[in-house]
Amino acid sequence: MNYRSELRNYQLEQHNFRLRLAFMAVLVLVCFGILGSRFFFLQMLKYDYFQTLAENNRISLVPIVPNRGLILDRNGVILAHNFFAYTLEITPSKVKNVEDTINEISEFIEVSAADRKRFKKLRAQSHSFESVPIRTHLNEVEAARFAVNRYRFHGVEIRSRLFRHYPENNLGAHMLGYIGRINDRDLTALSEANELSNYKGSDHIGKSGLEQYYERQLHGTTGFQQVEIDADGHAVRVLSSTPPVPGDNLILSIDSKLQRIGEEAFGDHRGAMVAINPKNGEVLAYVSQPTFDPNLFVDGIDSESWKALNESIDKPLINRPMRGIYPPGSTFKPFVALAGLEAGKREPPFSISDPGYFMLPGSSHRYRDWKPGGHGQVDVQRAITVSCDTFFYGLALDMGIERLTSFVSHFGFGRKTDIDMKGEMSGLLPTPEWKWKRWKQRWFPGETVITGIGQGYTLVTPLQLAQATAILANKGVAMRPRLVSSIQDARNGVVTPNPAVVVDRVTLDPHHVEIVTQGMVNVTLPGGTAASVGAGSPYAIAAKTGTAQVIGIKQNEKYNESKINERHLDHALFIAYAPADDPTIAVAVIVENGRHGGSTAGPIARKIMDYYLLGKEPPPPVPAADAAVTNAPEPAHEEELHD
């Protein structure tokens, strides 16, 4: 490259560059010209308009909070609704000294320290021209007292706002959940979801249960008014108005009557019960005992009630059906039996002769049957009926842990049911990999053995157990359990169903299902472990009892009820579905420290099924001590005293 061409290129480069720079210079001038004409438009042509808005009047944007959607049961019974109540509100930008104003108000209307605290917090979160409540739930006398003194208080107003109320109080509290004041965490979540502007003016948000899960549908869309306000702070006229869109109503699949029967059937016992329609996954009853009154939470719970609820040994705030985890005990056996049959093992007429214990080859450790001396000759169907441990010890070992767990996982064990509530626990279905990850220990054959009878690491929630029962009742087709059956547009009443969803489907040999079902039906017939539960029933009940140990029993030690603290008694479990040939209800019951599935948990399930299938209401509740006598007659068979 010689000097001349380099020079020419240099000049060419510079020339091109300058051309492009000049182009940009023109662009800059054009853009600035646009800005200039925009200024001209705003500041000359529209000056009068903006001048009026800004100087003589101030525009205030008033949010109009939408009505929160109602929650109704399947028959239209109201479980959550709203009512209007007076609030006293201050607009900080219109008040000279907010503290003085509050002090003056408190001379004739009670303002507590908590009210002041809340006001301070709310004020920090709002624009100064937005009104902030200093008192809520004013009664008529207080409202009248303020009205008389109103002339003294510029920038203080009485408003009527919507409040949430749960008319059935304790009924289904864990499922309904509650709303509470929006806190900083909620604000962060709302701002991340880009929902903050929709909550201007709202001061409550769903905190738990359905109120939380369906917050988006229940809340609705906030409307607003653009209002001109004169120097005295009075609204002169409304410039524009966008009405709010009320929140949708939730229609539950829950029958509140069934729910109440379920809750009352527990008496003084703690525990959980879930009833599901196996055909479509609709949850019919969702009981967590003891319960609480969600109305306490709506306007911020007082510290005494909170302490009482939170520190109670009965833990009433725990949502037991989805957050309580328990070993499934013998209720696990029908699923193990089905696993064995589907794997081609234990097909009748296969049977064992039960000596009352099981031993691993080459070991002297005895895995005891609950019945000393054993059950004699037992095939798979009878093993379910009499809850023979020895049979399932051997079956589990024969199948191996991986095959067993991979089959029963189709019944929802070890994973969330995806019910329409937040915070569900997933329980635990153990595998060797899980144990290695968790404990850095290898899996022992003995652990496979006890998994066969629902002991060991396996853990379930009552909801999972109900779901597993429903899947069994529905012959392997798993429907997603859901509490809300449809959502209703509050404006026009149009109902959108929350569709039934198939979440899993396992192909089962109908013959095998028949064997297991018959084994479970026999459980509630004379000779079964829950014969008294089935007594006098016009429909066939397929069921299984279970007990779950709260504390471990050492080898060669006998479980002695009288020696054990009441809180250490076994948990009683019971699963059932009915009518056995074409099930429309599947139930799982857990009674904490209830000892035997057949005598405490079973009668609860029976009451539920009687009402659901026959419309039969149980006699009015009697004190718990007597209830045990009237509702659960002394077991006719020795079997019932056990598993």
Binding site: F17, C31, L42, Q43, M44, Q51
Partner: protein, 364 residues
């Protein structure tokens, strides 16, 4: 002696640019005093920011462009490493991940990229032979897109927009073909409606609010509505310094930072606005003259990009405050409160001065 020291200090300072910058910053301090509710502490703290930024500008002005050229690649790599660091270990504040803790200090790597990206691209294009192929531009676009994507992910829409435009200016000034530019514009025009139909309802809603604030007057649109009221009510001559009703009352949000122009416009009116635009035009004009007179490709591209990015700052900010552009977080340069962006800005002007005052004498 004092004389000689004085001349040493100003040796690499461009007096025209310096004068315009100082005057604009002075205006900024006055507006800030009013916008902050006559908060002297705020004004003093901003003055301190300005002092520090001017010192950095002086240092940059004294570094010859050929040294800057050598710094381009290492600086870019350092910036990218820090950006990746932010992506994985960054500190979240106000919902965005922008800051990185390094020992004791907290740094914002995206600010560094505002300078590093145009420097790298100017260096890249100045190293090519005089014929630039399409692939050169493709590589340049890639070098630009990577940091922009990281910053957009933080998310920091304003900064990523500024860096994207600074890089685009280099590509354009380096001779990106007109045919390609027009082709891209046509392609975007065709794709936009198709893209629109593919969006979810709520996404469309967000974009609509961006362009029509009145759809969401309580949320995203609130700023714009209040700002246009402030501007419009300023009228021809303004309400006078410290007398803006919208800005002195609590109506106007973020009035010391991104929306400070609304305060200025309300208090100084149309006349004030046009004068401020004139000031900005002088600064941009001087920058263009420096770019046009620069002696090599690197200096030329860098000076052009710095100047035009400054213009982008001004246009995007004033455009959003006056309601013709969507609200993105871009401060008004030299006026808005805040030290970080001021430092980066004056660093850029320092480089401009360096380019102008380090010219070798050549005969042509």
């Amino acid at each position: 002696m004092i004389n000689r020291f004085g001349s040493y200090v100003v040796r690499h300072i461009d007096s025209f640019l310096m004068g315009s910058l100082l005057f604009t910053m002075l205006v900024g301090l006055f507006v800030l005093y009013s916008a902050s509710g006559q908060n002297v502490d705020r004004v003093l703290s901003q003055a301190a920011n300005m002092g520090a930024a001017l010192a950095i500008m002086w240092v940059a002005a004294n570094i010859a462009p050929q040294h800057l050229e050598r710094l381009a690649l290492p600086l870019y790599i350092l910036g990218m490493v820090l950006l990746v660091g932010v992506f994985f270990f960054g500190e979240i504040s106000h919902g965005a991940r922008r800051w990185l803790h390094i020992g004791v200090a907290r740094i914002q790597p995206s600010e560094l990229m505002k300078i590093a990206v145009p420097m790298l691209l100017a260096w890249y294009f100045s190293r090519r032979d005089n014929t630039l192929s399409l692939s050169n531009h493709a590589i340049g676009a890639l070098l630009l897109a990577i940091p922009v994507a990281f910053i957009m992910k933080q998310p920091d829409l304003g900064t990523s927009l500024l860096i994207a435009s600074s890089g685009f200016y280099v590509l354009f000034l380096a001779g990106l073909s007109w045919r390609l530019l027009i082709g891209l514009a046509v392609f975007a025009g065709v794709m936009a409606p198709i893209f629109w139909t593919m969006l979810h309802d709520y996404q469309r809603k967000r974009i609509e609010i961006l362009f029509d604030p009145y759809q969401d007057p309580l949320g995203a649109g609130y700023h714009t509505i209040q700002a246009t009221i402030a501007l419009g009510s300023g009228g021809m001559a303004g309400k006078g310094w410290l007398h803006g009703t919208q800005s002195q009352l609590d109506f106007l949000p973020e009035r010391t930072t991104d929306f400070i122009f609304a305060v200025f416009g309300e208090e100084f009116g149309l006349m004030g606005n046009l004068l401020l635009l004139l000031l900005f035009t002088l600064i941009i004009g001087r920058g263009m003259v420096i770019a046009a007179q620069a002696q090599n490709m690197f200096s030329r591209l860098l000076a052009g990009s710095i100047t035009l990015t400054f213009f982008t700052y001004v246009f995007v900010n004033i455009g959003m405050v006056s309601g013709i552009l969507p609200v993105v977080g871009v401060p008004l340069p030299l006026i808005s409160y805040g030290g970080t962006s001021l430092v980066t800005l004056l660093l850029g002007f320092g480089i401009l001065m360096s380019i102008h005052t380090h010219k070798k004498l050549v005969t042509s």
